[in-house]
Assembly symmetry: C2
Homo-oligomer: 94 residues x 2
DNA sequence: TTATTTGGTTTATAATATAAACTACTTTAT
DNA sequence: ATAAAGTAGTTTATATTATAAACCAAATAA
């Protein structure tokens, strides 16, 4: 009935990030910050956790002269997200 | 896009408790503990939070000679749960 | 009568989330 | 050229949360 909810995804901000990344090829830090409304510090910490978990990859480069951090969901991230959503249904119905 | 998720409900155990209570007239402590697999200590703390939030009511009585703690979802709890589920859909699709 | 079990609560600790402070650099104004 | 302000982040300190362990009171079993 109540399958465990992956604690890495059961976090508002990390879930929002994954939700955004699942729909796109890649997204940069600023895009994620704007879309989620998170503070930069919080976002920095949370994407780091997602990366350590292997759910996203992070690459750093430059946009002209400005630093640019780009995030991309991994296959592992996709399936973890799917599993999380599936588990959630056990709690909220449908 | 990403509505805030009520932090009181965005907790695995509290969500499970609410999920159980939403389907029944009332449920006692032991029933909730068994269904959720939570430790008694954790369950005690979490139902207390739900009660303080006004999402459930807790009444204490006896089952024969044994103490019995009964939980019941409130109208406020029902609508908070509905709002939470609605908000979640913004994150997980559907 | 002394364990053991039941039904919890309280408290201490570990994990998490978050903001605030900081770094490094760029752009703009003086 | 220099100072001030803005951008893109990271690190660190703090508050919040979750959880387990320890505890309590009463009932039941040995």
């Amino acid at each position: 009935m109540f399958k465990a909810l992956d604690p890495l995804l059961h976090s508002e901000l990390r879930l929002a990030v994954m939700s955004l990344l699942i729909g796109v090829e890649e997204a940069d830090f600023v895009f994620l910050r704007n879309k989620t409304g998170a503070t930069a510090g919080n976002l920095s910490v949370q994407i780091d956790k997602l990366q350590r978990a292997g759910y996203i990859s992070i690459s750093k480069g430059f946009n002209g002269k400005m630093p640019r951090t780009t995030c991309c969901i991994t296959d592992e991230g996709r399936s973890a997200f799917a599993a999380y959503v599936e588990a959630l249904r056990g709690y909220i119905g449908k």
